[in-house]
Amino acid sequence: MAIVEAPRPLVIPEPVLPASGPMGVFKRPTKTTGWRSWATTIDHKKIGKMYGFMSIVFFIIGGCEALLIRTQLATPNGTLLSAQVYNEMFTMHGTTMIFLVVMPLGVAFMNYFVPLQIGARDVAFPRLNAFGFWTFLAGGIILNSSWILGGAPDNGWYNYAPNSLVTFAPTHGIDFWTVGLLTTGIASLVTAINMITTIINMRAPGMTWFKVPVFTWMSLVGQFMLLFAIPVLTAAQFMLLFDRRFGANYFEVSQGADPLLWQHLFWIFGHPEVYIMIMPAFGLTSDIIPVFSRKPLFGYKVMVISGIAIGFLGWGVWAHHMFTSGMGPVSNAAFAVGSMTIAIPTGVKIFNWMGTMWRGQIRFTTAMLFAVGMFTMFMLGGVSGITHAISPADTQQHDTYYVVAHFHYVLFGGAALVFFGAFYYWWPKIFGHMLNENLGKWNFWLMMAGFNLTFGPQHILGLQGMPRRVYTYLPGYGWELWNMVSTIGSYILAFSVLIFIINVVYSRRKAHAAGQYTCDPDPWDGRTLEWITTSPPPEFDFWEIPDVRDLDEAWHRKYAEDENGRVVRVAKIEDVMDKPTGVIPHMPSPSYWPLVAAFGMLFIGYGIIFSLALCAVGGFLLFVSLVAWGIEPSTEPGVHPVEPLTPDSGESGVAHEIHEVGANV
């Protein structure tokens, strides 16, 4: 797809200062178009788009793995995949979907919309942001390259020791897993630090904590959990890596090690991880439902507080993943009761979403459908979650398809559905044109049908005793029917994703043909700050940092109560939106170093697996780029990607603010 540049009006050049070459070797990058602009960008919106794009690529990869798994299981004694390849498939499917799809998709939306929602111009550490993205990509590449470099990991996404040790997993598969996740872990950590700092420190004037949009709030909670969860995973991964590569004894049973150490460390990370994935989804649902109900979120404060409560409680329940490990009755009882308490704040959220719809004026756009689909499906997953918290019952459900059904209801029904909703909701803001609503509705209903057909029957399969992670099963256990239904469902699900992709391409072509590169800044009658800037927003987000007076600031600028207490529209969005001031805000300049540093990480990663010489190369790259990064100023005078625009050219002042619209997807 061609990159589109609208004709620019008269440019008033700034006084040009000589561009200093960092390290005296490279000139500071200045491109605003073409692949170089993406490689060196530190703009949170471009990085958000790249996160989104890569997540979808990985989503397709992980989805194909899922289809292969389901095809293998469609009938008893399936022979499509060998046991080894099947084990690699489900391991990579789980790892990909969690670490390379749901998490980064949340980060994609956070990257793009958190600064917009809090009225900031970028994140706190833009270059760190770029580094986070490239490092994430490096981790994804390391993980997925295992397929062609000697075998993928084959021990499930939680990779229990000691089956992950060299004795039992002699190929490099587990090393790829360990190193890949350490790399994405670094990306997650820097992103968490960045996002937390941004949200705490860069809220627009007047935006007190209880005026922060719920998506931003939930992102903050989720990123705080990530901040504390990732180091635990990192530590566990290092232990495993040391065991495998350097002969340490952390999980070597013959040396007196206890394999439960891995399980504890993994789930201390892994349980908060569940909330890390679902938190942005909670936030999105809480943002979308009020918009399309034309009502404020029911119980905003309770929603925020329950989110924080889930964030706290999420730290005390990890061992409910280990009820069958023989921890003893006291531990089981404590963690069972602890886990149940999470149902309370979660239930509050669901009822508050219903409360928001109550007496509203509901418009069922695709985004709204997905949001409603999210909380109903998530509720079903939550209910089956309660049955897991009952630890005696969990001994009948653990490691069966019932659990598989449960977490797909939570992660696909919860997180993925509303992420699709968010695409429909925010697409006009990001790309300046709508996604087609007709195709969208097909997308939604087929996805709901496919999703429920795939994962609904798995509840039954699990309760009828089908364990998970079996590459095949014998006839005569009563599992044939539901496995077949589930497989058919998975193809419907895949088809619905295909419709989404068709919709993206179709809508883009249509907008392109119509020459439409910008659209209504506020197509949904939105409530939060991102809707008062243009669609797509200018590089610096806002000409003027908005002055926030209310929760749902955008809405309150448009509506007020009359003397009878009825809500009436008092202004059009055009009147209250952010307008060009004629003064171009200075934004930080692009930089090569985050990309180079991430390349260093990539080399170090492969080096740990294959040869320490590669590590040296990677270490050198990393060191050089970090030093150069430290030396170069964040804003290079005279090197500025945004060419000044005159405020008074064109009627609205937005028509010409087009950089490469939609060049990403």
Partner: protein, 116 residues
């Protein structure tokens, strides 16, 4: 290190003055360091009592450790003088780590006298 998006410099002068005020005097720092050194000496001495204190030895050592920890955090790391937010963020991490890992060790019956 200075990777802020938008450095805003309109209060440079004020900020400079504020920076001078913040923190304690060098004398205080030296006193704190001396105190820490004495505490360390106590610790080492305690560990040489050969369990004369019985089960309380560990308790004494952990208490001394906590005192040192807090001293460094409050004085050297300026938490005493800085905004409460810094204190909250850091100690939140410390508390989460302590609770979670103590809980984990508890599931291994680590705190039971017959562990191992």
């Amino acid at each position: 290190m200075s990777d802020q998006t938008i450095p805003n410099y309109q209060h440079v002068a004020d900020g400079g003055d504020a920076a001078v005020e913040h923190g304690a005097s060098d004398r205080t720092y030296v006193m704190v360091a001396l105190f820490l050194a004495v505490m360390t000496a106590f610790e080492v001495a305690t560990s040489y009592t050969k369990k004369a204190l019985g089960p309380f030895e560990d308790l004494v050592l952990l208490t001394l450790m906590a005192i040192k920890f807090v001293c460094v955090a409050l004085y050297f790391m300026h938490l005493k003088y800085d905004q409460a937010l810094c204190k909250r963020v850091f100690f939140f991490g410390v508390v989460v780590a302590s609770l979670v890992y103590c809980g984990m060790l508890a599931t291994f019956h680590y705190w039971a006298p017959h562990f191992r």
